[in-house]
């Protein structure tokens, strides 16, 4: 079989240098959307990287981890004093260190979200319109107080000591809840986390389905990312709207077909290894000694936090 190479491939191409106005191209909507697919892959890999570290928190029995998590969330929700919430913050810091997770990286994300929402929700709580009390920072004055619906608007509006305390408490509560959730998520691989739900008697079939869906999100996100990069490498300039829509539509169809093939073949894979509608999986819910010790530490810490509140 002889190769019949077209002659143009064997001669160098005469290139024309593009002319016209220089400038940066604005990313298209589709570019931004597809880039988010790559972000999904990145975050899944980051979580898996963290969870694979050989740490005390990483190796903890996931069921014990989930029980401890729920217990601490309840503690965070019920304690109403600043010192108690601060002690929880400190405890969570220790958990991050034990899990060897980059605290700065995670807190940068958390603080951004917490402050953004906190600013909108907690700022009004600091004002004497919502929380009456001793004004420490004076903001606005009216000629006389007003009554608006159920709100009494005083003559002098400002930030109160009581309001600041309430806002700080709410802020810490949200911060602690989010950071505690993230330490559990980042230190436990998704499959182990799913397995922990077996203590709530969630059927294995459902857990397996969620696990498979998670895997396929990753595979398909990677496919989307690769498709996007392949398209980008061949697109010299922006494609007109209609052509871009057709191109994207055909790619979506390709990805849909690929996912369909994947699940059909996976089903064959399961059948060939004995799946007959019922899944038997190893039951490794039994905790070890260090899991029991860790749970005891968490329980005693919770009691300590409540004691701090009663002393405050």
């Amino acid at each position: 079989m002889e190769n019949d190479i077209p002659s143009f491939l064997l001669n160098p191409e005469a290139r024309t240098i593009p002319t016209g106005r220089r400038g940066q191209r604005r990313p298209a909507f589709i570019d931004v959307t597809l880039r988010h697919a790559a972000d999904i892959v990145r975050s899944i890999r980051l979580q898996a990287d963290n969870s694979s570290k050989n740490t005390f928190i990483g190796k903890m029995n996931p069921c014990i981890k989930v029980i401890s998590f729920i217990y601490l969330i309840v503690i965070i929700s019920i304690v109403n004093s600043l010192p108690s919430q601060l002690s929880v913050t400190l405890f969570i810091f220790i958990l991050y260190s034990l899990a060897r997770i980059n605290i700065i990286q995670v807190y940068r994300k958390i603080l951004l979200v917490v402050l953004l929402f906190g600013f909108l929700v907690f700022l009004p709580a600091t004002l004497n319109v919502i929380t009456p009390g001793h004004v420490i920072i004076h903001l606005i004055s009216f000629k006389q107080p007003h009554q608006f619906w159920i709100y009494h608007i005083p003559q002098h509006i400002g930030i109160t000591v009581e309001g600041s305390r309430v806002a700080a408490l709410l802020l810490l509560r949200v911060l602690n809840s989010v950071s505690l959730t993230l330490v559990v998520v980042y230190s436990t691989s998704f499959p182990r986390l799913l397995k922990a739900f077996r203590i709530f008697l969630v059927p294995v079939t459902l857990l397996m389905t969620v696990s498979l869906a998670y895997k396929y999100i990753l595979i398909l996100s990677e496919t989307v990312g690769d498709t996007y990069r392949a398209m980008k490498s061949r697109l010299i300039q922006r494609v007109p709207g209609k052509a871009a829509r057709e191109l994207t539509g055909s790619r979506f169809f390709f990805i849909f077909k690929r996912s369909q093939t994947l699940y059909e073949m996976s089903y064959h894979g399961m059948i060939s290894r004995g799946y007959d509608g019922k899944i038997n999986m190893i039951d490794n819910r039994r905790p070890g000694l260090r899991d029991v010790v860790a749970l005891a530490v968490v329980v005693f810490f919770g009691i300590g936090v409540i004691l701090i509140q009663s002393m405050a």
């Binding site: 696990s211 994947l262 073949m265 064959h268 894979g269 290894r273 007959d276 999986m281 190893i282 039951d283």
Partner: protein, 269 residues
């Protein structure tokens, strides 16, 4: 009866349109190494799927140990369990075969489906982790593995079942050279222990190593020739006709020349 797998006049079309197999007749004997060879798209994987009872032929008959593979027989729990215990199938694309949360779950899936006691299944799982040098992957989610690691896990996951018959689609794909050698030797060892090995490939070097009995599929999806590895690999005209060797260019020092050869069997200058 010596035949463990028998196919008689088997044909198959995808979506009732695209022809994948055309009038296939073959028998695989107990304890032999059997290779299904053919160029890309000739129907090798479809044939393995039919042998494993994953898809049923459009026409013709398939039998496992003398029992026909039909919708009714595959729905019979006792027969289905016997078939799945006896026949392990390693897919070409490990992504479709790995569906459990972690590597260890994957290894235990088959044995636990066969109601093996948990302790015994764990023992087997750990032995396979060690045998394939993947102990450090034990608790790793399967989506976090590289291509070669996935393949090794897929192999281990089927071997934990200790099947009598191993079906393997492209055994060496995704494996690095060292693991390729290891796996080829493992197949020879398993065959020496009495296991029947059926594999599909278009790599002539693997055939040279395993010396199987062979069936070669052509572009028309029919079996073109059956015989020993020696019969097939020494028939240069036949290999050229089924697109398994071709004239290609290569370099010897500064000299570039082209001729027919397979890199492994023929290299005449």
């Amino acid at each position: 009866m010596n035949n463990v797998i028998a196919l008689e006049n088997v044909s198959y079309r995808y979506y009732s349109k695209v022809l994948a197999l055309n009038d296939i007749n073959l028998q695989v004997n107990k304890g032999e190494i059997f290779c299904i060879m053919g160029q890309n798209g000739s129907g090798k994987s479809t044939l393995l799927n039919i042998i494993n009872g994953l898809i049923l032929p459009e026409s013709g008959h398939v039998a496992f140990n003398g029992t026909p593979l039909t919708k009714a027989s595959l729905e019979d729990k006792v027969f289905n369990t016997h078939l799945r215990q006896s026949m392990g199938y390693i897919f070409q694309n490990p992504d479709v075969q790995l569906f459990c949360p972690t590597v260890f779950d994957e290894l235990l899936f088959g044995p636990l489906q066969m109601n093996m006691p948990q302790e015994k299944a764990v023992e087997r799982g750990e032995a396979m982790l060690e045998a394939l040098g993947i102990e450090e992957l034990k608790d790793r989610p399967v989506y976090m593995l590289s291509g070669g690691e996935k393949k090794r896990v897929a192999i281990a996951a089927v071997l934990t079942l200790n099947p009598d018959i191993l079906l393997i689609d492209e055994p060496l794909s995704d494996l690095d050279p060292k693991t390729q050698t290891f796996f080829t030797e493992l197949l020879l060892e398993l065959n020496r222990a009495g296991k029947t090995i059926v594999f599909a490939t278009h790599h002539l070097d693997l055939i040279d190593h395993l010396q199987p009995r062979m069936a070669v599929l052509g572009a028309d999806h029919r079996i073109q020739k059956t015989g020993t590895a020696h019969d097939i690999l020494t028939d240069k005209a036949f290999l050229v006709s089924v697109n398994l060797i071709h004239e290609h260019m290569h370099k010897h020092g500064e000299k570039t020349h082209s001729h027919f050869h397979s890199h492994y069997i023929f290299h005449e200058h």
